[in-house]
Symmetry: C2
Subunit: 427 residues, 2 copies
Amino acid sequence: MRIKDIIVTPIAISDPPLLNASGLHAPYAIRIITEIISDDGFSGVSEIPCDPTALKILDEVKKIKDQIEPYNFEGFREILRKRFGDKKEERGDQSWDTRSISHVESALEVAIFDLLGKKHKKRVCDLLGGAKREAVPFSGYLFFKYKGAGGELGFDIDENTKGWDKKRQEEALTPEQIVEQAKAMIDEFGFESLKLKAGILEPRLEVDSILALKREFGKNTPLRIDPNAIWSFETALKFGKEMEGVIEYLEDPVRGQEEMARLKKVVNIPFATNMCTTSFEDLNKSMELNSEDIILLDHHFWGGFTPALKMAEMASGLGRGISMHSNSHTGVSMAAMVHFGASIPHLASSLDTHYPWQKDDIIKGEKIKIENGSVKIPIGYGLGVELDKEKLAIAHKNYLKCGITKRNDEVEMQKINPSWKFSKVRY
Amino acid sequence: MRIKDIIVTPIAISDPPLLNASGLHAPYAIRIITEIISDDGFSGVSEIPCDPTALKILDEVKKIKDQIEPYNFEGFREILRKRFGDKKEERGDQSWDTRSISHVESALEVAIFDLLGKKHKKRVCDLLGGAKREAVPFSGYLFFKYKGAGGELGFDIDENTKGWDKKRQEEALTPEQIVEQAKAMIDEFGFESLKLKAGILEPRLEVDSILALKREFGKNTPLRIDPNAIWSFETALKFGKEMEGVIEYLEDPVRGQEEMARLKKVVNIPFATNMCTTSFEDLNKSMELNSEDIILLDHHFWGGFTPALKMAEMASGLGRGISMHSNSHTGVSMAAMVHFGASIPHLASSLDTHYPWQKDDIIKGEKIKIENGSVKIPIGYGLGVELDKEKLAIAHKNYLKCGITKRNDEVEMQKINPSWKFSKVRY
């Protein structure tokens, strides 16, 4: 079997005006959909974040598709590194990861796994050592936000709009509104844990929102807060101490492994990260300093399923908890996350997902169902999802129309507050 | 944590005059013991086959030990490939694997896993995603052989020598002697499956030995035969058909994926290999041709635990059975094989081991116990074994004394039969 074709489609999906340490989500989240077609008629699909560098690399990969052997996962990595240099890519300072080569590795590996699964009538999780669980738990991901649902979906709410459909369009800038958001999200999806994206408003207000959630949902709903490393040590210390015994984990309260480790010594809450320990290269210092308790893996950022799984196996063996990070995504990434989540030997906590915030999708049929806060492994071979070519065409048209080619939450924020600037340490 | 020291010790352990497709085992099997010492006082150990190329590479590795980050498994592989070229190494035509860079990768990775396990108080299998079984089944590995026990152990048998100790020194060149060998081995170790190394004597005699084993041990003892690809297609077809319904699997009856696949179409026995599908590069063609049913992994040859485990996870997902290959080895490799065997998600059959044939060892205390044909995961952290420095010194002295620097079973055979030549296809 050889690769006959690689089809790369940048898409845009509506995304609500969610606030985060980097600013404001644009009305569209942009993603790259990669389809790999084999010469014996099978195909596989994957999704990664979209940016011009990743698109350019994928364009080059198309030219050397004959060199890629679908079963030889190490092979294509070597080809990529050789062709696009093996200089260390930097994750960057933003909430999201900007290592394009790793993203492209993921695009290729996930699509190939999907293809192999479809060809050999196996689920992707069964190519990753077998499912450790048949349903994967997710947390309800709460955001401070402005009014609106993003993209074409920013319609007015009327008396017929109810529940989560209504709530996801509403403003949420106070503890009370966050509690209401959480209620609507739990009603709709049954989440049994909640995560609050922080790092944008005054820490006092953000932490008050956590305390309000605690009062509302009590002891049985684990809570997390993620200021995306925007707090100073002093701020993180003050509010960290305040949240001891209140939250399940504190995610990236401060920037860098040294600061995380220093804070961890004095704040008695598990620390999670998707910012300071994000590759095998970081693990040495992580273990030396003890910079976090939980590593939030992401197959999009770690070069695909197999490097991320290796990290899951090894790091959980070394005593790190393992769970998963998310960005705004469609059902393709959702399916991939569920297969990966099912394959992790020991899961420390429920996974993150932005999926409830995205109404658009590109998969056939309904959106993937979140029930009782969990997603069952999709039925079917490979990832268990199929691209809906009509929806994909619309999402691609939206990409061309929206004019966004690179995520920049600062620019988006400046449309509302022209003097707003991203800062590595804000509070 | 950094690597403070890498100690490389070539050793020789007594090895009986076992016959195989490549000729005759020398009186000593040579191995490399690698110890890695960290700057915080921990150490780890590994074992690989010994040859001058691997020793030379390890010597170079010592010089760049500061570049190796113990938790960054991808990192040291990159360093090795960069420094020692990334040309494709060939497995070679012999029964054993000659890819020195892969062996060195294994030497480093296994020693580092042992070190990390000892430091973090974890078992190696727990760093590999967790034990899927607490005891790992092995098969009794039968050999045609000349009289003698190899090395210093070639003492005369007297009335006090009994059981396996006696039998391992005796000649075995007939079906009857093979049955006696099997009985002694089962009495001592409780093996519940048997493998016969073939490819040296007349196929008729070798297959008669399998039939004799079948008569003796009946239906409940799975039998395997391994002619190490030395049979012609016609010979393999004839004897393959004869062994249908008799054996559990036929290992490398013919040479190369094409011939294996061609034979597999007409012989109704599962085929196993450690010769035709031995790397990720080989998997494409393996799947295309359907060259085998069972892949016999070997962490020594696949670059260490993690690449071999990835193959185990993926290939068993794709429908290949997974088990493990062996060469003459000490308790260090035995411990590593048990941890690896415990980590394989789905084990198709019991693992191979030469361990009963080697009386010498270099680990503290007794040799690792094989009971009821299985080996329990050693108690303790890391690999759960410790080097006995006195025994190691003796084994190193034996290496220097024996003068063997590279395995060559042809030369050894020629000492008995000067006109004997290795042939890629003998019968």
